[in-house]
Symmetry: C2
Subunit: 451 residues, 2 copies
């Protein structure tokens, strides 16, 4: 009866715990959870803040009762303070003081923490991070108590844009301040700019190329001061400038770091220490396309790595197939998605990429409510293998699952002709005889052939 201790009860930790019990119902699984919110969908935070979701309790992927029914022992509001690899125990500290949990195998699933940018005043009241349910409830409580009128969002990544949407829906006047030349640097500039225009249409101000150096407060709320001396006023500030792996515990235990400061693991999520695994936002991620390590702190990846880890913890075998960098974001009525590599990323990885933009309706134009999709495909020369895709269009235009068709194709190493060959579904209200992803592949293939 192997004793398994899992440090962290978010996506990776919970997935691993459930999978371990599934694979070997005899194993004893304890999940050490720093806060009181096991298995919460932190990706759902913007939708609670926007009040599209009315009750934050609904953000749980699974209830505590469901986790208990699966045979997990949950230790909420308990911090792991030391991992003793040689001694096979984790020291935890919680409501009832410190105790040691002996284990046969352990998983480090400590997640990520917000990057704290070099900005003076980030700890002032009214400045919030958005990472945990605690952060979420603190922000929500502040809004309820103080009825702020204006919000400043530092950082224009997907979380920054989702929070801009959320706070604007909640009635706040919102400005996004982004250091770089565009928001959403995981997308090419024209795609990011269209999301910015969508924000603008809904009253959100986006200021790119704006390096905030300090947050000040006075009688009229908060002010973000930028490097050019500009002042941006708000009643609350969100700092959403990215995340970095939370590895303090693992580092103190002697586990080595790798890409992006994340824990070094193999594709079975094993650290170099026997029986000690790591998964989720604290661990590095195998990229299936570049066949190399990367850092991709995303819920989808955490769930998959967690499931692999759970299998290994329970004595089974499974290899993490790797991520492709697939992502989708909804900003008001627009959806943007990507998978694989952008052209610049492909070039940096040693490919000889070529890309092409196509525009096609999501379904036959004669059927009501057809909307255009913009699709940028990247393929490698001379073999025509699909390397990446970006797509943008209206909410409701099946963009998420269209990027998934392409992610599936990339996963299998498909070439452009193979994408044209796919037998995809068609009815006029939901597509075209050639789906837009196929006409995009045809257009890029023509370019590859004739260039």
């Amino acid at each position: 009866m192997p004793r398994i201790v899992i440090i962290g009860g978010s996506d990776a930790g919970t997935s691993a715990a459930l999978r371990a019990r599934e694979v070997d119902p005899g194993c004893e699984v304890t999940v050490v959870l720093a806060d009181a919110f096991p298995s919460f969908s932190v990706c759902g935070i913007p939708f609670f803040i926007s009040r599209e979701v009315e009750d934050w309790r609904r953000l749980a992927h699974r209830s505590t009762a469901e986790l208990a029914a699966a045979g997990l022992e949950l230790m909420p509001e308990t911090r792991a303070v030391a991992l003793d690899i040689a001694g096979r125990r984790v020291t935890v500290s919680g409501r009832h003081g410190e105790r040691a949990l002996p284990f046969d195998r352990a998983l480090v699933a400590t997640g990520a923490v917000p990057v704290a940018p070099p900005i003076d005043g980030l700890r002032r009241p009214g400045v919030f991070f958005v990472r945990t349910m605690g952060d979420c409830l603190a922000l929500d409580g502040f809004i309820e108590a103080h009825h702020p009128g204006r919000a400043l969002i530092l950082g224009g990544g997907y979380l920054g844009l989702e929070m801009a949407d959320a706070l604007a829906r909640r009635g706040l006047e919102v400005a996004v301040l982004e250091l770089g030349p565009t928001t959403m640097r995981s997308l090419d500039r024209p795609f990011a700019e269209r999301l910015e225009r969508e924000l603008g249409r809904h009253g959100v101000t986006v200021r790119t190329g704006t390096r905030v150096t300090a947050i000040r407060s006075d009688g009229d709320g908060l002010a973000a001061i930028d490097a050019d001396g500009g002042e941006h006023r708000g009643d609350l500030v969100l700092a959403v400038t990215g995340a970095r792996p939370e590895t303090a515990l693992a580092e103190a235990a002697g586990l080595p770091l790798a890409q992006g400061g994340a824990l070094a693991v193999d594709r079975r999520m094993r650290t170099p220490a026997p029986g000690i695994l790591a998964a989720g936002d604290c661990a590095r991620t195998w990229n299936a396309l570049t066949a190399d390590w990367s850092y991709q702190p995303l819920g989808t990846v955490a769930h998959k790595q967690g499931r692999v880890a759970g299998e290994i913890l329970a004595g089974g075998d499974r290899v993490f197939a790797g991520a492709l960098g697939t992502q989708v974001v909804k900003v008001f009525d627009r959806v943007a998605a990507r998978t694989g590599l952008r052209e610049d990323e492909a070039r940096a990885c040693g490919f000889t990429p070529v890309s092409h933009d196509s525009v096609a309706d999501d379904h036959k134009a004669y059927y009501p409510q057809a909307t255009p999709l913009t699709i940028r495909l990247v393929a490698s020369r001379p073999d025509g293998r699909l390397l990446g895709a970006q797509m943008l269009g209206a909410y409701g235009a099946e963009i998420a699952k269209r990027i998934d068709v392409l992610a599936t194709a990339i996963h299998h190493g498909a070439t452009l002709p193979q994408i044209e060959d796919l037998d995809l579904s068609y009815t006029p209200p939901l597509g075209s005889p050639w789906d837009p992803v196929q006409s995009a592949a045809q257009a890029l293939e023509a370019r590859l052939r004739w260039d």
Copy 2:
């Protein structure tokens, strides 16, 4: 400068013509078209009859001007009356009498015609087929002129159900009479029955196990008499009991028939006669999953076969990868889709299949308007290769593109673990960390493993 004659200007013929000109802009392409509607989306007919599409002219995939601009010579309202293979010419008959078109290569793309079931009185006024734009305009004209109150639909395939939806939207009282035990025999019974309930919710009567033997007319309209002596009254009758390949011209020219009475072709769409190709609903279809020939008269297949044929006609090379039987149908607010093989089909093809039903929300339940998807997956033992999928849920739940993710996986020979491994997109309004297609694969894999 090769002279190419294409007999038929619907999906396969037009695709082939355009592709031939693309591959070799020097070739001379003549398209002989029996009616006046080149490149029309006959799949769009139900949506014009329903008046969701107001102008039938919008059903053209491409306008006559666009086809001319691509360098095609169109001969509308012209019938090919003889194909002289040895003499390399097609005799056509049109407004200006008969003439011979010499060719170097020719494509037979004569499509399909409705199956005329053994029913007495099928040629009475008020009885319509639904295959061509001529049929469509005749039906529409009848409705406009006579304001029929009741429609009988003979046949509960996807066209029968789409037309039931269409005529009900147009304000008619509709009954579907189906010979077999369920409608939509391309789906398993529980899926078909849910579409029938959807029709019922919208006032459409569905009578399965009903063999109509005669159509009679009297002062009060038409009556369909069934084999049990039952009488079903209507003011118009649609006979939509399937389609068969239109091969009269090709047979007279000596070309051999194969599966389902369709023309024998290889995967380059070549008939046994040198330089004579066939594509679309008149030709047989390679099934990529069973690696065998079949008959699949669908627009998606016709477009793909046409494109391959166009490449070959122009002197290029391309092989038809094969169809998987992917289909989607929208009936009022429900969408049902399939790809690959049902369990019974898989067994008949020599596989040892196992199937499992899963239900999962289309996106996170906490985000508004989540709706359940029912997914039935079929995999082979013992290798766990995905063989087929059926899916049913609400319109708007991205079902078409989810079946396409699975069609893409099947195309590449994916196993269930490989589907779980896919890096699919996620944001709470548009999915789950494990997409429903992945949780369905997990559930079936568990069954495979433990059965």
